[in-house]
């Protein structure tokens, strides 16, 4: 049986770990709520923008726009949105596993990578993938400008013809308990045409110019959405795993306390036996 001091020390250390996991859970919960709010706020803009583009596209000659250009796919680019930090359950692992599988299926030498978040950068760097750009350590003060910056370089990569398709792998925020790894194609843009838009409309500047400036904005907003979804998912995953850690620590404390009491009882019993034995020996 372990000695009393050892058990007491273990109980102490488990308790202090529990304090840490509890605090991390609360922090993650607060951050998640904020991210969720931002997600909701960005939705009207992205929906309206998509609508405007849809109203506009039937009137526009698709051939003229490099961002709508569907080419034979010889090279692809992947944007992998992960977190900067771990301790978030299977959040990063699942994402990286799925992204890597898809990339390997296409052939890793034909894929350019944009890594967002430290975890994805480190993962692919270690395995010698072709990383074009990585963006790390901006989550704490995430701004729309980050999304614009990332969006711009991705668009350049596509329009300059270095890749023929761009995919994004990220964690989609279903709800607090569920996040889903999604892999979507971002470029070339595919839009369904809608009917019933009046043709008697004013455009200033020309339709083509409007579309060419609308679409990059749309992509920025899309990028912003991916960042927010991923961030909210990360915090939700962390919250859940820290919640589990806290309750595991609770169980452990319970077990250890039981063990401690048993050991203490056993020590008292032996001591009493010794005293009784001694007294009997004296009395004879």
């Amino acid at each position: 049986m372990a000695n009393l001091k050892d058990i007491r020390d273990r109980i102490k250390s488990v308790k202090s770990i529990q304090k840490v996991t509890k605090a991390m859970k609360m922090v993650a919960a607060a951050k998640m709520r904020r991210a969720q709010e931002r997600m909701e706020q960005s939705r009207p803009y992205s929906n309206s923008l998509a609508e405007v583009i849809q109203h506009l596209l039937p009137d526009v000659d698709r051939e003229m726009l490099p961002l709508l250009d569907v080419r034979d796919v010889k090279r692809k680019a992947y944007v992998v949105v992960s977190a900067d930090r771990g301790l978030a359950g299977a959040f990063n692992t699942n994402l990286l596993k799925i992204a890597q599988k898809e990339i390997d299926e296409f052939g890793k030498e034909n894929v350019d990578l944009f890594c967002i978040g430290k975890k994805s950068r480190d993962h692919f760097k270690r395995r010698d993938y072709n990383i074009i750009e990585s963006h790390v350590e901006f989550w704490a003060e995430m701004k729309f400008e980050n999304a614009m910056m990332i969006g711009r370089s991705i668009i350049d990569h596509f329009t300059s013809g270095q890749v023929d398709e761009i995919h994004v792998a990220y964690n989609y925020f279903l709800n607090i308990a569920h996040q889903e790894v999604k892999s979507e194609s971002l470029l070339p843009l595919v839009y369904e045409s809608v009917e019933g838009v009046s043709h008697n409309r004013l455009y200033e500047p020309s339709k083509e110019e409007l579309v060419t400036s609308l679409i990059p904005r749309h992509l920025n907003v899309q990028m912003w959405k991916y960042l927010l979804e991923s961030y909210a998912s990360e915090q939700a995953a962390r919250m859940l795993s820290m919640e589990n850690a806290t309750s595991n620590a609770q169980d452990m404390i319970k077990d250890l306390t039981l063990q401690f009491n048993k050991a203490r009882q056993a020590a008292i019993t032996t001591e009493m036996l010794e005293i009784v034995g001694g007294a009997e020996a004296l009395g004879k």
Partner: protein
């Protein structure tokens, strides 16, 4: 005055201003233009500048970083990347960012940065101007 629906939508603050207004003046690429009720439908690009709107006879001024205006039926939607009411703008902060942009302009080196510095300079100037309304 006939009124129409106005919606201002931004990526960060969501759908901001909803309501009935009589008149909106927007900064178009070739200068400002006004929209009143029953305007012809269309889509217009907006640049950095000032939005003026008249609601119940009261004028309101907003600074914007550019975007689009869509007129559909009796609704005007302004999709702008940033928007601030004149009363919300902190004039001191605007002045500081203007100074920052000016210093950066005087010590800039690369070609690519020039465009962005110029843009931030215009934005700062615009915010400062609108804040004085």
């Amino acid at each position: 005055m006939n009124v129409f629906n106005l919606e201002i939508v931004t990526p960060i603050r969501g759908a901001l201003d909803k309501g009935q207004v009589g008149y909106v003046r927007c900064p178009g690429l070739d200068g400002s233009f006004g929209i009143m009720a029953n305007h012809q439908e269309g889509i217009f690009a907006l640049t950095v500048g000032e939005i003026k709107l008249t609601r119940d006879g009261q004028d309101e001024f907003l600074a914007t970083g550019g975007g689009f205006a869509e007129i559909m039926g009796h609704t005007v939607k302004l999709l702008v990347e940033s928007v601030e009411k004149s009363s919300e703008i902190d004039a001191q902060r605007a002045e500081k960012s203007l100074d920052r942009a000016r210093t950066r302009k005087s010590e800039q080196d690369s070609e690519l940065n020039e465009v962005r510095i110029e843009a931030s300079l215009t934005r700062a100037l615009n915010r400062l101007r609108v804040s004085k309304r």
